[in-house]
């Protein structure tokens, strides 16, 4: 295999020919992740819809939705790992992109309610009627169309990410300063979305959804479809991230992480690379939010809370940063642990989460993936 490519069969074979060639080459974790997603996409619909509910193999609709949420968190963690693990930008505000994607989807779902709301207004959502508004604000126009909402799910977080990144990275804001302003960004958005005048339902957010694409949002088959969509989105996003980190762009970005001035000195505009990766990551986080909202049935300003963004950082750290699949694993596992723990020790959860972060930072800096690899190596 090696001798064919170069006369001397040299180390240049280690550099991928092009990003899309043999994208999972040498990526065992990625193969497992994609295999798992494929298995879930096939099995979960069967076990939920076709297996009778008294069978021990049956998966309840509640469990399907729960798993769907884990997949959304895994996707958020994946998007965070792309910027943190590979570009060295520690974002403490990725929850903002997640929430914006969620709000874009929530606006579509609100418009789908139509005249079935409490006040029965054919156009205005309930909270606008309650506030005494006469007509729909301009920024709500178009959200009755699914394609438009789907576009905005990517465009709104993407635009915010681009503008934020452009301003921050061009001014060479890095390190802890960037983390702080990213957190300020999500906090500012939270305060803004809490205001009723913003037109996004204020404190209560958007809820009481009825339909998505004409299907009842609470029907088991819709839930399964949303789960499958989440699994597909995770698999596809994984492939996109993997293609990015395997391309030369990925190598430039990791070079920026390790030695930004040096990267600049060999002629790369590092700020543009950072803005690009940051924007892609923001769009993936938005996608995660958009899939999350129909499954939990509500989006409110608390999703912008800085705590959520910090939790996402913990997921990535626990899973193993700079591995992509490790981050996804961390996102799903930590949330699963949270579900288990909050059932009987709800008040302890935050201590557990904090302890987990400290333990990972001190003892397993490479996360779960690093732990597995070390075991494999020894």
């Amino acid at each position: 295999m090696t001798a064919k490519m170069t006369p001397s069969g040299s180390a240049t074979d280690l550099i991928p020919l092009a990003a899309h060639r043999r994208i999972l080459h040498g990526d065992l974790g990625g193969k497992i992740l994609l295999g798992l997603m494929a298995a879930l996409i096939v099995l979960v619909p069967i076990l939920n819809l076709a297996v009778p509910s008294d069978s021990p193999l049956h998966i309840s609709t509640y469990a399907v939705t729960l798993m769907g949420r884990y997949l959304c968190f895994a996707l958020l963690a994946l998007s965070l790992d792309l910027v943190w693990g590979y570009c060295g930008i520690l974002s403490l505000g990725h929850g903002a992109f997640f929430a914006l994607g969620g709000y874009a989807m929530g606006m579509y779902l609100m418009r789908q309610i139509g005249d079935r709301g409490v006040y029965g207004d054919p156009v205005l959502p309930d909270f606008m009627v309650f506030l005494g508004w006469e007509e729909l604000p301009w920024y709500w126009l178009g959200f009755d169309q699914f394609w438009f909402a789907a576009f905005m799910v990517l465009a709104v977080p993407g635009t915010l990410g681009f503008v934020f990144g452009w301003l921050a990275f061009r001014s060479r804001v890095t390190g802890v300063y960037l983390s702080i302003i990213s957190q300020a960004m999500t906090y500012a958005l939270m305060l803004a979305f809490f205001r009723n005048e913003m037109g996004f339902g204020g404190n209560n957010g958007l809820t009481d959804f009825k339909d998505i694409l004409g299907f009842s949002i609470s029907a088991p088959s819709t839930r399964v479809a949303l789960f499958v969509a989440s699994a597909l989105a995770l698999a596809l996003s994984y492939l996109i991230c993997r293609a990015i980190v395997r391309s030369r762009l990925g190598r430039v970005v990791t070079a920026v992480r390790d030695a930004e001035p040096r990267t600049r000195s060999i002629g790369y505009r590092t700020d543009r690379y950072k803005v690009w990766v940051w924007t892609v990551s923001a769009m993936l986080a938005g996608l995660a939010g958009a899939l999350y909202v129909p499954q939990v049935g509500i989006i409110n300003p608390s999703e912008f809370s800085p705590l959520n963004s910090i939790e996402a950082v913990v997921w990535v750290a626990v899973g193993g940063r700079g591995t992509l699949f490790g981050a996804a694993l961390g996102g799903a596992l930590v949330n699963y642990a949270q579900t288990l723990l909050t059932a009987w020790l709800a008040e302890l959860w935050l201590f557990v989460l904090g302890g987990l972060f400290v333990a990972v930072t001190l003892f397993f800096p490479r996360g779960l993936v690093g732990l597995l690899r070390r075991r494999e190596g020894s």
Binding site: P7, I15, L249, R262, I266, G267, Y268
Partner: protein, 277 residues
């Protein structure tokens, strides 16, 4: 009263407007008149300390020039000015006759063809040796072209050639961070070769090298001169003697002496500076 000045400048009839003047920092390097680097009256001061004091220096196209001088003479600051890291308070810096270095930023200067090897070897520690070379390779530097970049056979061969040349053919797969100090120096020189710049600024290339490696470095730099212009800053006098054709001595931010090694060494002012008599 900026607007007043602007208006007056607009009303003047004895000159063309800035907007219709040819842009200084565009086009290719023009060396028809000989020199490829022009530094004229360059002054840089840090908190009152003059790191460069009206430094005037010309480097000819294809020349191999050694720059020596005691610590604090301004050698590294001079390189910072040329590569756009430091903006001088005063003076002019041109790359060829058409590219105004003071109007270009660090990346533009690097892309225009000035490469630099740093005093402290800086490679990308968590990339493999071959990847370091690949990243340094001359070519488009845009985001999209990096995303779709392919590694064709000729680039692979070029990387192999350079690996051979810098004596790291067996270490191609190693992470650059695991190389020894001397090997990192070589890798950095290799990255310069991949960049294929018109001007190579080489800051203390033989620090931490064995005698044998020094000889190889000397041989390599001499070979590069001609096709490239090479500017070497070095403390090691023996090394300078082995490669130098023309030597510039910097002292307190300006040129003290210039000429062949013998001329410079017999210059009483240089002896005074070096021996402190």
């Amino acid at each position: 009263m900026q607007w007043l000045d602007d208006t007056r400048a607009f009303m003047r009839r004895d000159q063309v407007f800035d907007i219709v003047r040819p842009v200084a920092s565009s086009g290719r390097v023009d060396t028809r008149h000989g020199p490829i680097l022009y530094l004229e009256d360059v002054t840089v001061s840090f908190d009152g300390f003059r790191a460069l004091d009206a430094l005037t220096l010309y480097i000819d196209d294809g020349e191999l020039r050694c720059i020596i001088g005691p610590n604090g003479a301004g050698k590294s600051t001079m390189m910072d000015v040329i590569t756009g890291r430091t903006r001088p308070d005063n003076g002019a810096a041109w790359f060829g006759q058409r590219l105004d270095l003071l109007r270009m930023d660090e990346t533009e200067i690097a892309q225009a063809g000035i490469g630099r090897k740093f005093q402290k070897p800086t490679v990308f520690p968590r990339h493999r040796v071959v990847e370091n070379l690949e990243l340094a390779m001359a070519g488009p530097r845009g985001v999209w072209s990096a995303l779709t970049a392919r590694l064709d056979r000729s680039t692979r061969e070029r990387i192999d050639e350079v690996l051979e040349e810098i004596g790291l053919a067996d270490q191609g797969r190693a992470l650059a961070g695991q190389l020894s100090h001397g090997q990192k120096q070589w890798l950095e020189i290799g990255m310069l070769l991949m960049q294929d710049p018109r001007v190579l600024l080489v800051d203390e290339p033989v620090a931490g090298m064995t005698h044998q490696e020094m000889d190889r470095t000397a041989e390599l730099l001499t070979r590069l001169a001609g096709r490239h212009s090479v500017v070497v800053v070095e403390h090691d006098m023996e090394f300078v003697r082995s490669i130098a054709r023309k030597v510039t001595v910097l002292h307190q931010g300006s040129v003290l002496a210039e000429g062949s090694m013998e001329e410079v060494q017999s210059d009483p002012r240089v002896i005074e500076v070096y021996l402190g008599e």
